[in-house]
């Protein structure tokens, strides 16, 4: 699509259906429900400080990172961009996560 002035970008065909969007919605919903179930179980079981509690928390964190991947890649369409551009966004974020 031409933007008039100096910028030229090559248009790519948008998806014709919303199927992918709804599929990702269901994925996000299920991941959230699993996270909440684990969270409630942490509350109800009242586990002492130990491997099992930290393991459950670790799983919850990984599930949240999975949600982040789906939102960024599909909803924000980053997955559809040119590879180098994806890298300019993903590499600093990975470094930041490592920093955390």
């Amino acid at each position: 699509m031409e933007h008039g002035v100096a910028e030229v970008t090559i248009h790519h065909e948008p998806a014709s259906t919303t199927k992918r969007i709804w599929k990702v919605f269901w994925i996000l919903l299920i991941i959230t429900i699993v996270e909440l179930t684990l969270g409630i179980s942490l509350y109800l079981l009242d586990l002492p400080e130990g491997l099992r509690m930290h393991l459950i928390k670790g799983v919850i964190i990984i599930l949240s990172l999975a949600k982040a991947y789906y939102i960024v890649s599909v909803f924000m369409h980053l997955g559809d961009e040119i590879r180098n551009m994806i890298m300019t966004v993903v590499v600093p974020l990975m470094l930041f996560i490592w920093f955390i």
Partner: protein, 252 residues
């Protein structure tokens, strides 16, 4: 859907005359702004994590956030915040659908889905407001001075935290009594959820402007709905931050 395979063989992206990432300047800059904003939020959450795990005692979120509007005293941990998460995810989906309609140049569809996104944003803000109000005005008996057994009724504030360890064998008008909890809790909770809420609010404002622009045909005349895409990026960022705020404050 991707241009990468085909176009990289056909063109040299960096030889000038075209956008090397095949993306509009505004969109690229929005991505980089979102990067900077995520560093800010990340810094806040790291700081929260450092303080929180350095304390011997920290209020369990399922004990602090266990109410639901309309349910009175019923103990419902995680229920209300699940609703808030669901609302925000739904509004993200309606936003993607608006962007999708924009790709097809369908003005009516864009307006419809943007309206729903705004509704979702306002619903989320209302829920957050209820949560804050409940925390601030909800009074709990706190054993302020062990020597004199003085009990005061405290709500959550930046300087007072009623959620400390429970005092055994003491009740006050039938309620359990606690000691004062770590003061940092209030500052972090209100500060971080407030900063996020401010982003949601500004997102709602931006979306409203987008809705009006779409409705009055500004994008139709331009020939593209790229502005909606950029607003969409911001809105998804807001949703993403919530995923991590919700994770840090309510789940771990």
């Amino acid at each position: 859907m991707t241009t990468t395979a085909v176009s990289q063989h056909q063109t040299k992206w960096w030889s000038g005359g075209k956008s090397p990432f095949n993306v509009e300047y505004g969109k690229l800059m929005m991505w980089y702004f979102l990067m900077s904003d995520s560093f800010t939020f990340g810094a806040f959450l790291i700081s929260y994590g450092t303080i929180r795990f350095s304390q011997n005692y920290w209020p369990g979120p399922s004990y602090v956030f266990n109410t639901f509007p309309g349910a009175g005293e019923t103990n419902l941990p995680l229920a209300f915040v699940s609703l808030m998460t669901f609302i925000l995810i739904m509004s993200s989906v309606t936003m993607v659908l608006a962007v999708h309609e924009g790709h097809h140049g369908n003005k009516k569809g864009v307006v419809k889905w943007m309206a729903w996104t705004i509704v979702g944003g306002l619903a989320f803000l209302s829920c957050q407001a209820w949560e804050w109000n409940h925390l601030i005005t909800g009074h709990h008996p706190v054993l302020v001075d062990a020597a004199t057994n003085r009990i005061e009724e405290w709500g959550q504030s930046m300087r007072h935290n009623p959620w400390g360890p429970i005092v055994e064998n003491v009740t006050y008008h039938g309620e359990k009594v606690t000691r004062p909890g770590p003061v940092a809790f209030g500052g972090y909770f209100f500060g971080i959820t407030g900063f996020h809420g401010f982003h949601v609010f500004s997102g709602v404002v931006i979306n409203t402007i987008m809705l009006i622009m779409a409705q009055t045909g500004v994008f139709e005349r331009r020939g593209h709905y790229l502005m909606i895409e950029k607003a969409g990026l911001y809105w998804h960022f807001v949703d993403l931050v919530w995923v991590f705020v919700f994770l840090c404050f309510y789940l771990i």
